[in-house]
């Protein structure tokens, strides 16, 4: 199970990095989103990999850690705000430059 989780996280992270490095701005934002999901999974793994029972459960057994889950909730909310902001700025850029190719968006380079 641990190995499966680790492989999943690394696969998601790798896909995210691949998309992040694309020239297309929209793809790179999608890559950012995928990476942040990989990080959320990583934080989850930080909490659950020893516990077998949910943190609030009154059952016998090793309880999983609730703190990383709280961290993930916070991170999800912040990331959502971040993507709203990135996408809104991307919209302005794509209207102004009529392209989503990052090489064409170069108003500031001389």
């Amino acid at each position: 199970m641990d190995v499966l989780l680790a492989l999943t996280i690394s696969a998601v992270f790798a896909i995210g990095v691949f998309q992040l490095l694309r020239r297309n701005l929209i793809r790179s934002v999608i890559g950012l989103s995928i990476i942040s999901n990989a990080i959320n999974l990583f934080l989850l793994a930080a909490g659950v990999y020893r516990g077998e029972v949910a943190a609030y459960a009154n059952a016998v057994g090793q309880r999983s850690d609730a703190l990383p889950q709280a961290l993930i909730l916070t991170a999800i909310v912040i990331n959502m705000g971040g993507f709203a902001m990135v996408l809104s700025m991307l919209y302005v850029l794509s209207v102004r430059y009529k392209t989503s190719d990052s090489d064409e968006v170069k108003g500031l380079t001389h």
């Binding site: 950012l32 912040i78 971040g82 700025m89 991307l90 108003g107």
Partner: protein, 496 residues
């Protein structure tokens, strides 16, 4: 009044005031007065915090929600974070004052002042927090409001600059999340004091080194340090003047603060490695920033590159790591904040007179003839940046170089000493372009521009600190004495 509330107030006053300021959006003057009042109040609170911490001789800790230390979030005002908070609030108040007298269209938007207050919250909170994840939250708040303030700039490239800033900072935040996850796996805590204690006790977990590297990356992006600086020059070309005056001077100090904390609290055992990296990166950055500033076409972009160079000096000082060098780093950081904010405001006020609002040298050549006061201030500020006596820049440089001699680090000392001359070159090149060259006949400058009161106050303060530098140096030395004994910090936060 219990003193521990003093740590909370600089973080609590600006966001509360921002919420109220949004409600006041239809009354421009009331909103401006209210928001400026809140900014000044929070500056007074952080000064009181610094005064109390310094005179009591022990850190003030506020446990949010009264949860005991390793479990809840603690806000810690020790001498380092209080000094940094005062520095930030001072320059933020100066930036706000500039925004009040600024003729930019974007400063008239109803969300401008609330966003500025949120920027203040994020920055002060990131300096005062004693929790790694809380640092992430405050850093995100800082980036969000900074990017929003840039995206609404009058400059048509504002959104492009904001996009770059936001995107790169977002990736950096991901690095910080990954670092906090790694440290949490290894030690089961995110409280900085608790982490420091546990890392010192057992540095063996395999994820400690990656966490260290990721934290270095995060702080380098925040501080616009050489290999991670890409957002910075573009950002400063396009952002509104009050915003980039704050970002280039104090927001980049979050990186400096982070490195000071990393080398003296979190990773004391591994500090030698971090320091070696910082010396190299700093010395390269000094040259890169200096030469970049010489080669630019735009006054604001020049000052942005100059920030890269000046931060290099501070990083080299942190890298030497002797008590004198650390004190020099703090004094230098304080001075650079005041001077760079004032210089950027002066460049902005000259640009506000140009027929088309830009700070490109081609457009502002000779405009200074109408602004003799700005010329005097720019000359003084430039002398301060280059380290010529009457201003506080000289004190910082003197301490820095003598600490280098003391540490017997002659190679980096020679490298950054030579690069100091480059500062002189670019500052006086800009001065000569703007104030000495005659105004071209076909250019009609605008009769009104941004007010000069904020840069005048900041330069006056730098002059005062240059002539009477003793309090600042004493403060820096006391701070270094605290940093040398991280046990004080740990004991103050965890109790016992």
């Amino acid at each position: 009044m219990p003193t521990d509330i003093l740590v909370l107030l600089p973080v609590l006053v600006p966001p509360t005031a921002a919420a109220v300021a949004v409600l006041l959006r239809s009354h421009r003057r009331v909103q401006a007065a209210w928001a400026f009042g809140a900014m000044l109040t929070s500056f007074v609170c952080s000064s009181l915090l610094l005064w109390t911490v310094w005179s009591n001789g022990r850190p003030i800790v506020y446990q949010l929600g009264n949860w005991p230390a390793p479990f809840g979030i603690s806000l810690v005002g020790d001498l380092l974070s209080a000094t940094m908070a005062v520095m930030c609030q001072l320059v933020l108040a100066g930036g706000f004052l500039y925004a009040l007298g600024c003729r930019d269209q974007c400063a008239q938007y109803p969300a401008f002042y609330p966003l500025f207050l949120m920027l203040a919250t994020g920055l002060t909170g990131a300096m005062l927090t004693g929790d790694l994840f809380n640092l992430f939250v405050f850093a995100e708040l800082l980036v969000f409001s900074g990017a929003a303030l840039t995206a609404v700039s009058d400059d048509k490239f504002g959104t492009e600059a904001a996009y770059k800033y936001f995107y790169i900072s977002f990736v950096a935040s991901i690095a910080l999340l990954l670092a906090s996850g790694s440290l949490y796996v290894s030690y089961g805590t995110l409280n900085l004091a608790d982490l420091a204690q546990r890392i010192a006790a057992d540095p063996s977990p395999p994820l400690v080194l990656p966490a260290m590297v990721l934290l270095i990356i995060f702080f380098m992006v925040k501080g616009a340090v050489m290999p991670f600086h890409f957002w910075q020059p573009d950002f400063h070309t396009a952002a509104p003047t009050p915003v980039h005056a704050v970002l280039s001077s104090v927001v980049v100090k979050l990186g400096i603060y982070g490195f000071l904390r990393m080398t003296t609290l979190l990773f004391v055992e591994q500090a030698e490695t971090i320091r070696a990296v910082l010396v190299v990166v700093g010395a390269v950055g000094v040259w890169f920033g200096g030469l970049g500033a010489v080669g630019t076409y735009d006054a604001k972009r020049m000052l942005a590159y100059s920030t890269l160079g000046q931060l290099g000096f501070i990083l080299v000082a942190i890298g030497w790591g002797t008590p004198l060098a650390l004190a020099a780093a703090i004094v230098y950081a304080f001075n650079h904040s005041l001077l760079k904010a004032a210089m950027l405001m002066l460049a902005g006020s000259v640009a506000s007179r140009a027929p088309v609002k830009t700070a490109a040298f081609a457009a502002i050549t000779g405009l200074g003839k109408k602004l003799p006061l700005a010329g005097v201030l720019f000359l003084l500020g430039g002398m301060g940046l280059a380290g010529i006596p009457p201003l506080n820049g000289f004190v910082g440089k003197l301490m820095l170089f003598s600490s280098g001699v003391e540490a017997q680090a002659y190679l980096p000392l020679a490298a950054i000493g030579l690069a100091g001359i480059v500062t002189l070159v670019y500052v006086f090149r800009a001065f000569q372009r703007i104030w000495w060259t005659p105004l071209p006949e076909d250019v009609k400058p605008k009769p009104y521009g941004d007010r000069l009161i904020a840069p005048a106050l900041l330069i006056a303060l730098s002059l005062a600190l240059g002539i009477w530098a003793e309090p600042l140096i004493n403060l820096a030395q006391a701070t270094v004495a605290w940093m040398a004994t991280p046990e004080w910090y740990v004991r103050a936060v965890l109790g016992g």
